[in-house]
């Protein structure tokens, strides 16, 4: 079972490198706290999942690197080579000379169609190297132009071309106070389009990860390297093989196969009046939760707290909404580690914030000329706003 990763833009490529590095380091870790046989099974599953074997034994990441300007990809490739433990495929990159200028419209409407064939070909080559394709993992940021615009375009293409494969988009939510001034526009355009073509959006907020670095890890001068390494660690702890008793291959469970798409049964929805946002979010309601436990004493771990019905909706109780994956083999030298993936109201506030700021800016028509120049019209913005307001409302009504 293999996963093909597509790394887009500066953010996607910088994070992608850290992810593969974390996955590789963990799989070759000697302190697995389990039997040698288990460790071997784990390691070979990880290898099959994320790497391809090369003739001289250096594993090649199953990844396609895409960016509209060359600096970051060059850096990423050389970092991998320097580590001399794994590397990227020499012909797995697609690069142009001039970036997307932080312009979603440029990434989506100009770069997308122009480079569609080349990028899809690269992905096809990667897919062909897999014995059994588990799905796609697409790493992108929302704030810029390439990750957001081109990333959305590519995801739509993957939907068309590989409709039966799972697609998970890893979205980097920008800092609240500007990295990019038009980040809110780029974000709403990305999210509204991805909602229609992606199977799952796995979100990491820069603000949240920054807090982890500052408060939990006590790092004084936090760099993007620190941030990316935390993100990679979290992703690794979910995506590394997990033990499952089904079948003869115990480490084949597909992390992308989490059934996140839930439609609330219409007849069971209570009629609610218009509730204010603050009122509704007092208690975080989850649609579904997944806990991934790794390491010592994993089978005796008590997860009863996660099964409290109060955490879930009235129409999907903890029996169906809560899942736990337990694996003896420890992750990244941590004796015990736990990860929680949650589909809940947690992201409503940040989403609402972005929609609100984008809406205020849109009302003044600021920067719109930069988008209409490349074919994204005011109606497209309005469509995006409408869709996202519906998402916010749906989550609020849980």
């Amino acid at each position: 079972m293999s996963i093909v990763t597509v790394q887009l833009g500066q953010c996607g490529n910088q994070i992608g490198f850290e992810v593969f590095d974390a996955l590789f380091s963990d799989s070759h870790c000697t302190q697995g706290l389990c039997s040698k046989r288990e460790n071997e099974a784990y390691r070979s599953s990880c290898k099959e999942r994320f790497f391809n074997e090369e003739e001289n034994g250096v594993p090649i990441a199953r990844a396609v690197l895409v960016d509209m300007e060359p600096k970051v990809i060059n850096q990423t490739l050389s970092k991998a080579v320097q580590s001399s433990r794994w590397k990227y495929g020499q012909r797995s990159c697609f690069c142009q000379k001039q970036g997307s200028g932080n312009n979603w419209a440029y990434g989506y409407s100009v770069h997308g169609p122009r480079h569609e064939e080349s990028v899809m070909n690269l992905i096809q080559k990667e897919v062909e190297k897999c014995d059994s394709l588990g799905g796609f993992f697409i790493i992108m940021s929302m704030a810029g132009g390439t990750g957001s615009g081109l990333g959305t375009f590519i995801t739509q293409n993957l939907q068309d071309q590989y409709s039966s494969s799972l697609k998970m988009n890893h979205i980097i939510w920008p800092y609240g106070t500007g990295e990019v001034i038009v980040q809110n526009y780029n974000s709403i355009l990305t999210l509204s389009h991805l909602y229609r073509s992606s199977d799952a959006l796995l979100v990491h907020e820069n603000d949240a990860v920054h807090k982890i670095c500052a408060k939990l890890m006590n790092i004084k001068q936090i760099s993007f390297n620190n941030i990316n390494q935390v993100i990679a660690h979290q992703l690794g702890s979910v995506f590394q093989p997990t033990y499952s008793e089904e079948g003869s291959f115990h480490y084949r469970r597909n992390p992308l196969g989490i059934d996140w798409q839930v439609q609330p049964p219409l007849s069971r929805l209570p009629t609610l009046g218009k509730r204010s946002l603050s009122e509704q979010l007092r208690f975080n309601t989850s649609i579904a939760n997944l806990v991934v436990l790794r390491g010592k004493d994993v089978h005796s771990a008590d997860v009863a707290g996660f099964k409290d019905p109060a955490l879930y909706t009235s129409w999907l109780g903890p029996d169906n909404a809560f899942n736990v994956w337990k694996t003896q083999r420890a992750f990244s030298k941590y004796e015990k580690s736990a990860a929680l993936v949650s589909n809940s109201q947690f992201l409503v506030k940040p989403l609402d914030m972005i929609v609100s700021k984008a809406w205020n800016m849109f009302a003044s028509k600021a920067y719109i000329h930069q988008y209409t120049k490349f074919g994204i019209e005011e109606e497209d913005f309005l469509d995006s706003f409408t869709l996202l307001e519906q998402v916010v409302a749906s989550y609020c009504n849980l």
Partner: protein
Amino acid sequence: MTQSVVVQVGQCGNQIGCCFWDLALREHAAVNQKGIYDEAISSFFRNVDTRVVGDGGSISKGKICSLKARAVLIDMEEGVVNEILQGPLRDVFDSKQLITDISGSGNNWAVGHKVFGHLYQEQILEKLRKSAEHCDCLQCFFVIHSMGGGTGSGLGTFLLKVLEDEFPEVYRFVTSIYPSGEDDVITSPYNSILAMKELNEHADCVLPVDNQSLFDIISKIDLMVNSGKLGTTVKPKSLVTSSAGAFKKRQEKPFDAMNNIVANLLLNLTSSARFEGSLNMDLNEISMNLVPFPQLHYLVSSLTPLYTLADVNIPPRRLDQMFSDAFSKDHQLIQADPKHSLYLACALMVRGNVQISDLRRNIERLKPSLQFVSWNQEGWKTSLCSVPPVGHCHSLLALANNTCVKPTFMDLRERFTRLYKKKAHLHHYLQIEGMEESCFSEALSSLSALIQEYSQLDATKSMPVEDLPRLSVAV
């Protein structure tokens, strides 16, 4: 990686341009120890095998043979360009990339724009096309000129229309030197206002600079250097005003120090596009983020630090000081006070060993004292480039789209009106073919419209920020 071409027009433009090329060479020499022609250098320089005659000499990879600036030098007098061609930089310029005349424009915008524009249009087009051909992927034209004279002002702005028509996809960044209050050219208000209309209509981004501000910055540095205070030994090569090593060498000509500041501005502006960093910022992102409406494209710039003290360990407190300085009116390159005006957008381009947490800490710290327009309350664009400028550990270039440019324009308009009311010197302009009084009145109304836009924005400054009612949707 993309390339940029510098077009330097007139005496001022060429003198600044010369400083720019000198600094660019030094910067790349410091970074590129192995002498390999890489993509960073290629953004401003071609690599040429000078033994090959004609055009075939371009080398795209490998060792550096001979670097040629991607530049077009235009002046209607020969003095400045000749001096450049006889000076230490003579080998950097391609002799075919020059356009000169003898008579000069007589500080008359009309002569520069109409007479020489017409006369040299073909040649200009030819040189520009040639420089574009030498580029793999041309992204930007940097035009350097002054507003107050005749050639830089008139021919420089004539060029803009040519660039827009011929290369519509390529950005036009204009560095314009505005005349100070005590300018010795009497007709500078006329020249400036006539030029402003062209900048309004044909430039993507304008970086206004004025001599008085540059002079004030130099005075500040001199004071610092000569104060002899304990612990204030300045690191050699770190002065934003000096090109040569030690600042004690006083061989520099009077305008050199001022020109170097502007040259540093251009270097820092392009650093994140040329060199690597954890958060890159390309030139097309400058326009995208800082120009919310097409006509409001005037960006006030400030550079810090102006010098680096010689002590090696610079604690974060000093780093924070750099950010504070960037917003002080003493560091702006035009007479402007952004802190007390309204921000439409702000970009912070940081170089050197500065991380994202330093950037965020300072934005959080400085935000409360700045006023942003209601629809862009968090209007920050940031970039982190790993390579610091020569002689510094880190540096910051702040670009602000701020209503504080308004006073400069209003001042200009007033000086213009004083002359125009009396019809002083008007005949010098009207006798040029193609010039009529309507040119003046149109230019004036173009400027007034711009000032009006800034005034309207200013009026929103003290209004409370309200969230607009959102779309209500059915679930």
